[in-house]
Every structure is written in C-alpha cells, then in structure tokens.
Symmetry: C2
Subunit: 717 residues, 2 copies
C-alpha cells in the first residue's frame, strides 16, 4: 500500500515532517490484518524519508514496537538467525510489561480500537487488541513526536469513548440548482462527486481517510441527507460508486454510510408505497440491504432525514418515526449495520403570525414520546441545539428525554452559521460546552426531584452520546471538507475538523490542548519543531474566536438574523416574516422569544430540573441565552449590570475590535508558508469587513427600533 | 406568405374571429412591396376563413380598398375586361375622395407608417403612403370590426406619434446561472433562444411580430442589455442567428436591434482597449457595423447598458457617456441606424450608512451635463422614474433636463416589481400618468421662471419622447413575453403588452379605451361578438389594479420592500442595509427618504419649477410620493386627514379586500375559455395569498416600529 501524500493539496495535520520522530527510529510492527498493513506501510514510508528503518524479520533493537496482542511474542535475539521476528532483551522486557498491564485490565482485550502505550528501557511500545487500535496508537506516537521516545512511560490504556465517530458529508452527486455540489459547503466541490458522477480522484479520498484516522473518526456518510433524484440511486444501481469509496477508506479504519431516502421502495423499487409496516416494503429494504452488504461487507449503515424540510417520511402513512427507523434497522441488523435517524423534524411552513407554535419544541414533541420504541441498532441523531446550529443555543432537551434510546449528538463542523470558513471561528470551545452540559444538573449537588433524575444527575451530554461502554450513538458532525487546496477553505478551519475527531474519540479533551496538537502537527515541522511564536498568535486568534463571532452577530442567543438562503452576513429581519420558525420578535420596546411555561410557548418545560426552572426566569437564565428564552425590554438589566440594548452595542463594537486585533496579529505571524499566510490574510480582510457590516446593521437596527443612544457615544449609522 | 396562426399557443388579441368583419368582405389591395404582400396575405387568409374574397385582378365591387397612394388609380369598370385592377364607380369615388383629403394634408405623403381611413358610398378605404402604413391601416380596420363597414366615415389621417416604438427583450442565449433564460422574465423561456442557441421556432417569432404589428410596435431588441459571454457574439460570428430573426419579423414592419457590450472591441475584436476615442476602436465599430448591415440591411441599431451594474463602459477610460455613445452612433450613421444608450447609471455598491448619496440623483448627475453632446442618431434611453420601475415613482428629472438630446422613455411591461405576472396589474394607467406628466408645469398657467421654461410649459413627457415630427427617441419597454402558452404568463398581462404598443403609437389613448380594444379583440369572437358581462368584470378587475397593487405593497412612493434578488413578495427591510441605494430609513419615529434641498439629498433641485418646489415641501408634495421625497413622523397628516401610519394600515387592508373582490368577480366570469379561466383563477389565489402576506408584513413591521395601534382595531399580527 502506498501512502497518499498528494502534491496538489495541503497536507493539513499530516505533513511529512510530522512523522520525523517515528521515521527516524527503528520500528517493529507485529501482527496481521489490513490495518496492520497500513501501520506497516505508514512506518515504512516515514522511515524511508527520515532515515529510520522498518524492522520486519531481521534481528535488531527497535525503538518502537507496534504489536497486536494476538501476535505471537517475538523470540529474543540470541546468536543465530530466527524464523519469526526477533528482538533484543530490552524490547522483550518492554513488551512483556505492556502485556502485564493488559492482563491487569481484565486479562483480555483492551477493547475495540484501543491500545496501550508504554515506554521502558528505551523502547516505546504500542500494544493493541485489534489492527484499528494499532493504527490509532501509531497516530498517538506521531502526535507525541520526540516526546514518545524520551524517558520512561508507564503503560497507559487508550480507547475511544464512543464506538461511533462519524462525519456526514452533505455532498450531492448532481450539482443542485440551489445548493450546488456540496450543500452548506464552503470549501469548493465535493471530494467524492462531480457533475453527476464520481470524481474518480480516489487518491484524495484515501488521503482524507488518513487525515480522519489520525483524529479518530471511523465513519463517513458520503452523500447529503437531502437525497435528490440521482443520489437515491447510490443505494442500488450506483452502489458501485459507494463501494469504490469504501475500498479507499477501509485501510484507515473508516466505514462508509449512505444517506437514503425513505421513499426508496417507491422511487427505486417501484412499490406503490413506502409504508414501513407494509410487508413488501420490509422485504424490499431487507433484500436491498443484503445486496449492499454483498458489495460492501463492512458497510456502516443508513442515514435518514425523514419528514423534514420536504423529505418523505413515515408521517405520510400515519406511522411513527420509530416505525420508520425500525424497518431500516431490521434490514441492517443481520449485518451489524445501524441506521442514523435524524431528529431534525419540524414544520418548515410555519405561519410567522402564529406566536404559539415554537420550532424549538418540535424535536422533543415528536420524539420524546417514542423513547424505548426504537430498535437497538437504530440511532436517533439529535442536533446539539433545538434549532439549527446557531452560534449559541441551549442544549436540545431531546438529549435528556430519551434514556431508553441510543442517541447520537450531531455537531456542525462546516460553518454554515458561524462564518462559512471565511471567518476564523474555532468551534471546539462551543462543542466542549455542549458536551460538558449536564442536563440533570451537577452531580455533586444531588437532585431530589425523582429517583430517575437522581441517578442521572451529574451525567453530561457526552455521557449520553457515549452511552454505556461506548455503545451510545456517539458523535456525528457535518463535514467542512471539499476539494479546496486547504481541504476546508479557510486554512485555520482545519482545526475544527481535527478537534471534532479528537473530541469524538475523547470528549474530555480540552479545546486549547487540541489546538496545540493541531498547531504542532501542522506547523511545527516548518518551524524547526518549535512553533512558539506562531502558537501564541494562533491561540490569541482562535481560542476566543467563537465568542468573538458571537459578539458581532445575533445577540444573547436569539439566533438567525442572517441573510436568508445562503446564511452569510447579517439581515436582522431576514427570517422574521418567513415560514421557517426563526423569529426574534423585536419591536420598539423589546426583543426575544418568550419560551416560558408561564407566558410563552412552554419550551422550558421540556427540560428536566434544574434547567426547567433556571431557564424559566430571566433572573436565573444565563445571559447568553436570555433572548432565546425571554422577550425582554431593551432596558432589562443583565447580570453584569448592563442593559440589553447597551450590551448589544458594546458586544458589537468589541467583536469587531477583536477581529481587527486578530488581523494585526496575523500580519506579523510567520507560519512558514507564504501562500497560507496570504490566504488567511485575505480571509481576515473579508472577516473584518463582514464583522463591521454585522456591527453596523445590528446596531442600526436596534437603535432605530429602540431609540436608545449608545451610552458611550460611538457612531451608530 | 402564410399567416402564422399557431395551434399550440394562445392567439392573444388576434384570434381568427377578430378578422371576421374583414374576412367576410370583398377586399382589394393596391400596391407593391413586402408589407403590401403581408396585407394581401392577411386579407386572403381572413377571406378564406370567413367567406369574403380578395379581389386581385378581376372586376368587382370591393367593400374595402387598401391602397398605397403611389399605386396607379384603378380603372373604373365598364363593359370589357381590363389589364390592371378595375373597380366599380363607388369605389372610384371613395378612393378619389381619400386622395383629395390626402392632397389637402400638404399634397404629399401622409408620413411614414401613416394612413388615411375613410368610408364613402359603401366602400371603406385605407390609403397609405408606404406599405407599413397599409399594414397598420388593415389592423385599424380589424380593431373596428363591423363598425368599419357601417355608415359614412370622413377621411381621417392616422400616423404614429413617434417613429420609434420598441420592445426590449432581456433574453439570454445561454441560461444564466442566476437570471435564467430571460432576466426578469415571468413567462417561461425565451421565444428566441434556448440553452445556448436559437430556438429555431421561427413560426412563433413570426406570430409575435404579427401581434406587435397589430399594436404599432416596430422594433425589438433580441437580447438582454446585460450582455454575457455568449451573447456578445451575436454581433459577429453569431450574427446569422439575429439575421434569421430579422427575416421573420420584417414582413410585419419590425426592425431588429441588438444589445451589445461596450467592451466588444476587446472581447470580440482582440483590441487592447475599448476606449471610444481610440482610432482602432472607432474603426472596429465601423467595420463591424458594416458587416451587420451587409447581413441585415434594415438593422435597427444597438442598445447599450454601460457602466451600470457591472457592465463595462467609457468611465474605464476617463471618457464621458457621450463619447461612448457617439462612437457607436458614428458607426451606425451611414446605414441609418441608431444607438439606444441607457441612462441607468448609478453606484450599485453604495454604502447604506451614507445618507448623503442618493441613487435617485445618479442619472441626472451623470447625463444632464452632457446635453447637446450626443450625436443625432444617439438616443438616450431613460427609465421613466429615477429609481427602477417601482410601482410608484416620480418622473425622472432627466426627461426635463436634456432639451438638446434625443430621449426615449423606457417603461417596463414585464412586471418585475408589480407582481411578476402572477398578480393582475394593468399598467396602462401608470404609463398614462407618466406620459401625461408635465415636467415644466401645466401650459395654461404659464410659467415666468424663464424663457426656456416658458416655452416648454405644458409639454408632457410624451411630447419629449415623441419629439419634433415624431423624431424623438420614442417609447421603449421591457417585454413581458416568453414561451408560455399565453405569451405573458398571466393571460391578463397580455393587456399590458397590447396597451404599451398602442400608447407608443399614440400616447393620447386612454387606458380604459385600450382595455376595451383588447377585450374586444381577445374575447369578443368567443362571446358571439358581445363581451358585455365579461367586459364589465375585466374593467372592474383591471382598471384599478395598479392602484390596488400599490395599496398592498410599499406605501406612499417609498418603493422596494421586496425580497432581494427575485423581487417577489414583501421584505420590508430586505434592501435596507444593502449596497443598492434603495432605502426607506424607517425608525421608531418615522419613515421616508429626505430628498429635499433644505435638509436632504437635494434631489428635488433636479426638477424644474414648479415641481422643484412642489416636491420640496411635505405640504405640497403629492401624498402618493410623500415618502419618496420626505422623511416624516408616523403621525404626519396626509391631505385627506389620515396619518401616515393609519394610511399604511388602511391601504393594506383595502388592497387585500380589492383582490378578494376581484377573485369573487372572476369566479362568476365566463370568458368562453375554460383553460384560461382556470389559469386566472389559480393566479388570483396566489395573488390573494401574496397580498395578505404583504398586508401582514408591512402592517406588522410598522406596528412593531411605531407602536401605534390601528384606529379601527383590526388584527395586526
């Protein structure tokens, strides 16, 4: 197998230099299997470049041993040649120590995709239960760099928190007349599809899989959840195109999933119905799925957006979404596949005049009553917030409402509402807040509201997604990748893709540490190994960039205020009188959506305690969500003593200043890549222009409405 | 020549039955030439259907004689056969009488395209100076129907007010990714182009020419003023496609014009510049134009949108628009061609924060200083209002500012901002107001402001467009025609196309009389000749439909408030914070644009007296233009005693009621065409839905801003 290092695309976090520490060593790889072969190929490739050696069957004293626990222990070198791999005594000791630790972990497997990392007597050891674990262990060593080969390292087990770590591609095969090749894509075309068919650029697909494997992602969906006419056929007569992608990503431990339309039995099968309780429909799905697995034995499963924004679904037959999901789950079960069933169901033809309907309620209203009715291999995929990937939303109440359902939490790496990869917006801090949110309150405070709630107190969103023994739905995100040279349009948006994969592997990781990892891998090789000054610049620019973005856009959690359709740039009233259910209700007196039980839509009642009460009162509701939950006068005083209107002015001026500051910092930055520096410089110019536009439109809008002047006398146009 | 009566397209105002009166007669056509041949073919076709006879060379007693004045007088029938046409004594007397009147009109020609119509001794006579006049005379007789053959009719001269009566097609050859096949087209595809090339459906082009000839239009532009890559080549290597269209429309007296890009010498000619003062550029235009006339000897000329909305122009070379227009005019002059140079030049990248820049001023600022510097065959084509075809605008001040320039007034038949052919909006009343507007005040009141102004007092916009002896720029309009079955999408929008042609012929015609003509031609044949009840219904629906549309859309002349991009449906703030220069500046206290000299942009100063002063004061400014010229508080009292805010509420409720009334009337209407009835019914449903949306969004917007409740307590959402 050859390693996909492409000349015409940016290496992202796997530049050749990132492998210097590994590649300069003597490395032994023990074990069999496809992914072990990948490990061997990676090591061989690195060693060829950096002067090390892949020890295969010769005697030697390797610095690094990557071994499957099932592999026969190597013989210790004595005098003569040996038939299998043979090692020196220090390697044997290191391996044996690792095995001992493994035995202490229950005596058996370290778990799927897991590995032990240890260093003893000058030998670094990765011991894995399966080849995937070996591959993840290798990338762990790559991340550590020279540190992996220094001192002693007690054996440390690593395993992914969740079994499922998936990126959804909203890629169309045909160029959609409105949405283009990639829906909500800001990085050029698709890496899979072009103009109605496969791109055929499989080297790039392989390189993408490699990048993902280095973060921990192990599944991708290769087409848009909005399944149009051509894309529907990927399930049947165009299945070969999917299989070709599966072949490319398999060596990096990635399974392929497919978005399918619920109407497939009609559109593809010629049946008169797609009723999930119709026997012909069940049979069609079973037979079709059998064919899929014949072509792709490790196929991951289906992703379905049903009864949502025009996509067909079970409502047409008076069936529930559990009925809908289960027919697909049953078809997949014999093969170990899963169906990801999206909970993004709401009325997108709402009457804006009707203040009683609340889109935020929709997913909970539809799905909470179905808890316990989904098959075990049906995963309910829930957007992290109740609306749609806004810069600031509360956590979706669905996440706390379905203890007997396997839930996946869906994030959006592509920056649809967060700057569309023209703005720097490092999203890991937002995801971290979401994943760390405790829907039943903090555990240490206890909770007397009920036994069940008491059991759950202290559990986080991440705990729900991870599930028992990692068997939850896991984390899913919409990819930000396209055929752009930098993969992600904005070079710094690579950090979001990287951070998502790593958080999906381990939600306890910290955003600033992940940013360091990304900086080190991406920039250190060109910086002589020490990206110190650049590291400081990037942290200054990125650590707080999500909050900066929040400051200059829609205030206090109210959301939207973007240009309809493309969602870039400000339009305060853009969605105010539309059917999309996304309103702020600003008038001359105040702004915000009353979602209380007392006087509003009752949405706060969908949360368990303590949040149900916390959100109910403007006095306890966190300021950053105030306008999401409450309609308040412009003079309402926030917890910091500022009025809402003055907060709007202050944050919008501040947000722009922060962007201007980032631009000044970047001007002096030296990333060791002139083209990348120029691209980021250009994008920062656009970000500043757009931030000023946001500031001025939002401030002017609220000044015109409220008539309240800025207390600091700044210019509001 | 065969008459283009197509089975697969609606006959509009030329159904076969419209020719019944002519076709049932004995008709003699005297004269030669292509268009005389058309007259002969039309008559022959009608007679074949309705039982009359085209008398050609046999003796007879025709009921109708259509004769060129240059044709030899026919011999009077005696006993034996004669060589030329021969007629009975009554025909001879009628013809002689007409010739006498003609002699009294100066003894010579009646003027290009003109004719005399008379009836004496039972013979109806059309006597024309040229074949085009004969054709227009025939259509006059068709309009009159049986009335043309009743009683006596003293000889009456008819001639077009203006020489130039043109429809511009904003049709693209290639489907534009945003604007489609027809920019601002609401009637399907283009009748000329499809998917990058000619449609090849020349029968439809011929039928279109016939419809236009029946109204008096004598020129068409066959491509969009925004000239894209493919369309640029119509001037050179794709000229054959234009010539093919010219061949089809020629028999109906219509000349073809072409929209060209100012950058043609670079894009097509490979020159390094398009500088109008560069000798190579002059030569290129001269040579290219010579080739055009070699292919199309009666080619009309060029239409140019320069330095406007991204189109190239002379500003790039520091040249004036007179320099730009004149280089094309010089190239066209040897062949009698003209260049229509559009005055629609403004900054479309305006900063919305800057209240001192005023798009309304732009055309006057750019062009008024150039008066007298345009060649005689350069026609400055001025939109009727200073902005862009809004439902209500004042007349453009450019029209009064360039006495030494040939001006054409541009109207928009396609309903970009007036309902996009989904709403009934009969535009003739608006055009009539525009054409009847007297920029220098009413003549009878006199005007002492200055000699020049005194001379012009009493002159109307129509007078300016018509010019001395009809030699002005004439009237131009953007066509509403596409490949839709009804030509115009909404069947009732045919009336706008019809009325434009007739007003271009004679701006003194009245909208209600034109509507009668259109109803009679279109519907009478299917109504047994008497469309009485349908006539009443259509007048009730259409006479006031423009004002109804105005009532439920943007109030008091402020304009826009439409959804950006496609311009359909309401979005009060849609253009408020954009670069397009189209603002209403609504805040919690008031609304409108201050364009006064005293405190605003000074736009009122671009008008001569009395309007300069009339518009300057809210007290004298007509209410319907109040917010175009003034920013006033919501409590400002209009001339009828209503406040601005209450006026907004009242008109929006009233407008919707009027649409609902129209729909009720139409439900009971019997147009004798079930498919047409169904189409209009469906469209009225959409119009009512959209009108309600306008009402509710505008009312809600201003209620939220002003806080003033409706005095009549109606529901504002």
């Amino acid at each position: 197998m050859s390693i996909p290092e492409l000349a015409d695309v940016h290496p992202a976090w796997l530049p050749p230099g990132a492998f210097r520490a590994v590649g300069a060593r003597r490395v032994l790889v023990l074990g069999d299997g496809l992914l072990t072969g990948t490990v061997r190929a990676e090591v061989g490739h690195a060693c060829a470049r950096h002067g090390g050696s892949l020890e295969q069957d010769a005697a030697g004293s390797p610095d690094l041993v990557l071994a499957l626990s099932s592999a026969a222990p190597p013989a210790v070198t004595s005098a003569g040649p040996s038939v299998g791999p043979s090692v020196g005594p220090s390697v044997a000791r290191a391996l044996a120590a690792a095995r001992e630790v493994l035995a202490g972990q229950g005596g058996s497997a370290i778990g799927e995709e897991g590995y032990l990392l240890a260093r003893r007597d000058g030998v670094t050891v990765v011991l894995a239960g399966d080849p995937a674990g070996l591959l993840y262990g290798l990338f762990h060593v790559v991340r550590l760099g020279e540190e992996a080969f220094a001192g002693e390292r007690p054996a440390e087990p690593h395993r992914p928190a969740a079994r499922r770590r998936m990126l959804d591609h909203w890629d169309n095969v045909d160029v959609h007349p409105v949405m283009g090749q990639v829906e909500r894509g800001y990085s050029g075309g698709s890496i899979f599809w072009r103009d109605g068919g496969p791109r055929g650029d499989l080297a790039r697909v392989r390189a993408y899989a490699r990048l993902l494997a280095a973060t921990g992602v192990n599944a991708i969906t290769v087409n848009n959840v909005n399944v149009h006419a051509t894309e529907a056929h990927l399930l049947t007569d165009r299945l070969g195109d999917v299989a070709a992608i599966a072949d490319e990503v398999r060596p990096y431990g990635i399974r392929v999933h497919l978005s399918v339309t619920f109407a497939s039995p009609m559109r593809l099968g010629g049946l008169p119905t797609a009723d999930p309780l119709d026997e012909r429909v069940r049979e069609w799905w079973a037979r079709t799925t059998e064919h899929v697995y014949a072509a792709i034995p490790d196929f991951g499963g289906y992703v379905v957006k049903a009864d949502s924004e025009g996509q067909p679904g079970p409502f047409a037959y008076g069936r529930s979404h559990a009925d809908g999901a289960n027919v697909l789950a049953d078809a997949l079960a014999p093969f170990g596949g899963v169906v990801h069933w999206r909970a993004f169901v709401y009325n997108h033809r709402q009457d804006w005049r009707d203040r009683s309907t609340d889109r935020a309620r929709a997913a909970h209203d539809h799905f909470a009553p179905l808890d316990g009715r989904f098959r075990d291999n049906a995963i309910l995929q829930v957007k992290h917030g109740p609306m749609d990937f806004q810069t600031r939303e509360p956590v979706s109440p669905v996440i706390a409402a379905m203890p007997s359902t396997r839930l996946a939490v869906e994030l959006q790496v592509t920056q649809e509402y967060t700057g569309q990869q023209r703005h720097v917006c490092y999203l890991a801090p937002m995801w971290k807040e979401v994943l760390g949110f405790r829907p039943w309150g903090p555990g240490e405070d206890g909770d007397a509201a009920g036994d069940a709630a008491g059991d759950r107190a202290g559990r986080s969103v991440a705990d729900v997604a991870v599930g028992a023994s990692g068997g939850g739905g896991g984390l899913v995100a919409v990819s930000n990748v396209g055929d752009d040279f930098y993969w992600t349009g904005h070079p710094l948006a690579q950090a979001n893709l990287y951070a998502f994969g790593r958080l999906a592997w381990d939600p306890r990781l910290e955003p600033d540490a992940l940013l360091d990892e990304w900086i080190d891998l991406t920039f250190a090789p060109a910086q002589g190994g020490d990206p110190g000054p650049l590291r400081r610049t990037l942290h200054a620019m990125m650590d707080g960039s999500w909050r900066t973005y929040e400051r200059y856009t829609a205030p206090l959690g109210v959301g939207f205020m973007v240009r309809p359709g493309h969602h870039y740039g400000p339009d305060v009233d853009g969605y105010e009188y539309t059917p999309w259910g996304t309103y702020h209700f600003a008038d001359r007196d105040g702004v915000g959506v009353d979602r209380t039980r007392a006087s509003g839509t009752g949405f706060t009642g969908q949360y368990p305690q303590p949040w149900s009460d916390v959100y109910e009162s403007p006095g306890t509701c966190p300021d950053e969500l105030l306008l999401f939950f409450h309609h308040v006068p412009y003079g309402h005083v926030l917890h910091d003593g500022t009025t809402v209107i003055q907060h709007i002015y202050d944050t919008h001026f501040a947000g722009v200043e922060e962007v201007a500051g980032s631009r000044r910092l970047w001007e002096r930055a030296e990333p060791g890549d002139a083209a990348l520096h120029a691209r980021v410089t250009e994008l920062l110019g656009e970000q500043l222009r757009c931030a000023e536009e946001w500031r001025d439109q939002v401030n002017a809008y609220f000044f015109r409405k409220s008539g309240v002047p800025d207390a600091r006398g700044r210019r509001i146009p």
